[in-house]
């Protein structure tokens, strides 16, 4: 295998930025001067107020690989992408890219608001360097994918951001057949239907043999789309490996997030709101008004004092393994009689706040309130059927008859839960493990033999999970048929 097979080669790339604007401008002038004076390379020492946005990044990509770059905000992902695109010059190191580079970094960039969507297609194509004749050939495809109907001839300034995104994505993916495709989180806009189509289109591009670099902090998407990945943290490469490994490492990173801190801040905000009610007279929607009313008195009607996550040994923990038991212990005070209250515990995804499962408890009318006014209640989940990843445990104590938006009293809070791989289950890190652990059985039919195969335990390691990799019946038939 020769070095020709690499489409992307990144060697020792670093990039520094300046934190302060004025100084940054001055450095800019200095850099222009040193460029004109033929300096070999910019000094690799930091000037005042400078920091490394990227440090010594190395990787190589072959044709057909899809490579994910994960990391929290500000870890240098976008900077790296911009260097690959040739928008930013590396401070040190070398980048080589072979072939046509396509970039989907910001959608609808360069749209002219006064011109119609159709006119903008031609302008955008020109920005991407595509001649007019070629655009005319592909116009039908673009229009069909964007699916804007008659609005294609309306001025773009009247488009919603979703419509702009649709048009931009359609232009970018239908016009160019890139060898290397750089993708940032472009699917942030648009409805779910469109997102689904975007993913389909991206998978088509991967399958056509392009090399993809996909930057995201939404790890499940990286796991789904990529085979290899890199974890960046504060500009330093923490790990390069298979997507599953890297994503696991990403989850294992210590958090800077602190649920209790958030609660404190919220309380401060509420107190501040109480002190200066006149500031909140205008521009407040209905919900906030009722919110103010609810907090008119010094003490709140319901207040969550504490949320504890306990394992089976009653030890406080933030981390469990798949299929472990988990107890969520909620302490709260209430001025309302318990009979009117419900407690809701929800397990949610971290990024997009999707509720995976929810548990509700309604107090019986006979239940008396403890004398000190503080109630503690446990919600025990005997088997947490979540795969490895980070989740959020959300607790709400609210009026049992509460109708959404009716202004009933309620309090909610959340803590983080991290779930580790359960080695006893023997499930190796698969390419797309998904969120939920669910036992399944496989039944093989054909050539007269019918047998059952259990994938609950060890066997799961032999068959890849995920719908995309279900084996054809005949290929597994030989193995277990005898």
């Amino acid at each position: 295998m020769s070095s020709d097979d690499f489409l992307v080669k990144v060697e020792g790339v670093s990039k520094k930025f300046c934190k302060e604007l004025r100084r940054s401008l001055r450095y800019g002038l200095q850099d222009v001067a040193s460029e004109v004076l033929l300096h070999q390379e910019p000094s690799s020492e930091l000037r005042r107020q400078e920091f490394w946005a990227l440090q010594d990044v190395n990787f190589e990509l072959k044709r057909g690989e899809s490579f994910g770059i994960v990391g929290v905000n500000g870890s240098g992902k976008t900077t790296l992408l911009k260097i690959l695109q040739g928008l930013l010059k590396p401070t040190t190191g070398r980048v080589m890219i072979r072939g046509q580079v396509g970039a989907l970094i910001t959608l609808g960039q360069g749209f002219q608001p006064l011109l119609s969507g159709r006119e903008n297609i031609y302008i955008n194509a020109a920005i991407l360097g595509i001649p007019r004749v070629e655009v005319q050939d592909k116009l039908e495809d673009i229009l069909a994918f964007a699916d804007l109907g008659e609005f294609i001839d309306a001025p773009v300034k009247n488009y919603s951001s979703g419509m702009k995104g649709r048009l931009g994505f359609s232009i970018a993916t239908n016009l160019v057949v890139p060898d290397v495709l750089l993708l940032d989180e472009v699917m942030a806009t648009g409805d779910w239907k469109f997102k689904e189509r975007c993913f389909q289109r991206m998978e088509e591009i991967v399958n056509s043999g392009a090399t993809i670099v996909f930057v995201s902090h939404l790890v499940p998407k990286v796991e789904r789309l990529c085979n290899r990945a890199m974890l960046l943290h504060k500009g330093v490469v923490k790990r390069v490996g298979t997507a599953a490994e890297v994503c696991e490492e990403y989850y294992a990173q210590p958090d800077s997030f602190d649920g209790r801190g958030a609660r404190k801040r919220r309380r401060q905000f509420i107190n501040a709101a109480k002190r200066s009610p006149e500031d909140h007279q205008e521009g407040m929607d209905f919900d906030s008004d009722s919110y103010d009313e609810a907090y008119e008195e010094e003490t709140e009607p319901i207040e969550i004092q504490n949320i504890e996550l306990l394992d089976d040994d009653h030890a406080e923990t933030e981390q469990i393994k798949t299929l472990d038991a988990l107890t969520v212990r909620v302490s709260f005070t209430s001025e309302q009689p318990l009979a009117q209250l419900k407690v809701v515990v929800q397990l949610m995804t971290l990024g997009d706040e999707i509720t995976i499962v929810g548990f509700e408890y309604y107090f019986s009318p006979e239940m008396p309130m403890p004398s000190d006014g503080e109630m503690t209640i446990d919600c025990r989940i005997p088997e947490v059927q979540l795969r490895e990843g980070k989740y959020r445990v959300s607790v709400t104590v609210a009026d049992a008859d509460e109708v959404k938006g009716s202004g009933g009293f309620k309090a909610s809070d959340l803590v983080r839960l991290s779930v580790k791989r359960n080695a006893a289950l023997g499930v190796r890190p698969a390419r797309s493990p998904g969120m939920v652990y669910m036992p399944a059985t496989w039944e093989i039919r054909g050539s007269g033999a019918v047998s059952l195969m259990d994938t609950f335990g060890q066997e799961a390691a032999d068959t890849d999970s995920g719908p995309s990799s279900v084996q054809p019946m005949s290929s597994t038939g030989d193995r277990s048929g005898g």
């Binding site: 460029e35 928008l87 010059k89 910001t106």
Partner: protein, 286 residues
């Protein structure tokens, strides 16, 4: 086998921190290919600029005429009242001033052009790799479009005043091109400073206004020392007066000055282009 051949043809891009001026051949190659490949882009930008400019305007292209007409009117009034004294111009004075102002504007707009093009394109340059030449070409096309309108109307006005324009106007076009070269050439050097600090674009209108009065537009070039020095040291004068002379009379009064300034303008433009090209990536990240 075939796949391998295709692979070998793939363009390779290499990004390194070293100054691009260290490989002048590669840079030159890149510049010429970008210039050629950005024609379509330039046309689209031009179209976008012009059509969105006039879509919300009732007077449309006639806006290009307002400044020369206003300058012609005020300077005529000033001359009548004796505030400025001008010797005979050969053609009616207001027409002389109008023509001169159109030429001056050509220079002044050329001077601002690279910076304006950079400012309008900076968002784009930050997100997509586009040839910067496209932005420049589009702005130049826009400038020529305005010039065309102004000339069209000038012709009509000249015809109304029954003043004939010399055939030398075709030679004058060459002098106008040099005027543009000079403006854009200087303007290209203003881009690094101007795109980082807004002071430059704030100061430019004042500078050009001041410069306007140092240039023989509303008056004929003074021949008496030391006033003649003002005009002689002004790099715009030989180009502007040559364009005027050729168009109105068919002869150039100062050919040596014109050729020297033209050579300087062309060199400035080429060096400025390289400078601009090399500076852009550094400016984009700030």
């Amino acid at each position: 086998m075939q796949a391998r051949n295709v692979k070998a043809d793939l363009p390779v891009k290499i990004y390194t921190p070293e100054s691009r001026l260290r490989r002048p051949l590669a840079l030159f190659d890149e510049m010429t290919t970008d210039l050629l490949s950005s024609r379509e882009l330039a046309w689209q930008f031009f179209y976008r600029q012009i059509s969105s400019r006039y879509r919300q305007s009732a007077l449309g292209p006639f806006w290009a005429l307002i400044p020369p007409v206003l300058v012609a009117l005020t300077s005529t009034v000033l001359r009548r009242s004796g505030v400025i004294s001008v010797e005979e111009t050969g053609i009616p004075y207001p027409l002389y001033v109008m023509f001169g102002t159109v030429l001056w504007q050509l220079f002044a707009n050329s001077l601002e052009l690279p910076l304006k093009a950079m400012r309008s394109g900076i968002q784009l340059l930050r997100t997509i790799r586009v040839p910067v030449e496209g932005l420049l070409l589009a702005s130049i096309a826009e400038l020529l479009f305005d010039l065309g309108i102004q000339f069209g109307v000038l012709m009509v006005v000249f015809a109304l005043f029954k003043v004939s324009i010399s055939w030398g106007v075709f030679l004058g076009v060459g002098a106008m091109a040099m005027l543009m070269c000079l403006g854009i050439g200087i303007g290209l050097f203003l881009v690094p400073l101007g795109s980082l600090y807004t002071d430059v674009s704030s100061a430019l209108p004042f500078i050009t206004r001041f410069w306007f009065f140092l240039t023989p537009v509303i008056y004929t070039p003074p021949e008496q020392w030391p006033y003649s020095l003002l005009v002689d040291l002004n790099p715009v004068t030989p180009l502007l007066t040559t364009a005027l002379d050729l168009s109105l009379e068919g002869t150039a009064s100062n050919p040596t000055g014109f050729w020297i300034m033209s050579a300087i303008a062309i060199v400035l433009l080429l060096v400025g282009w390289v400078f601009y090209r090399v500076a852009i990536p550094i400016l984009v990240e700030r």
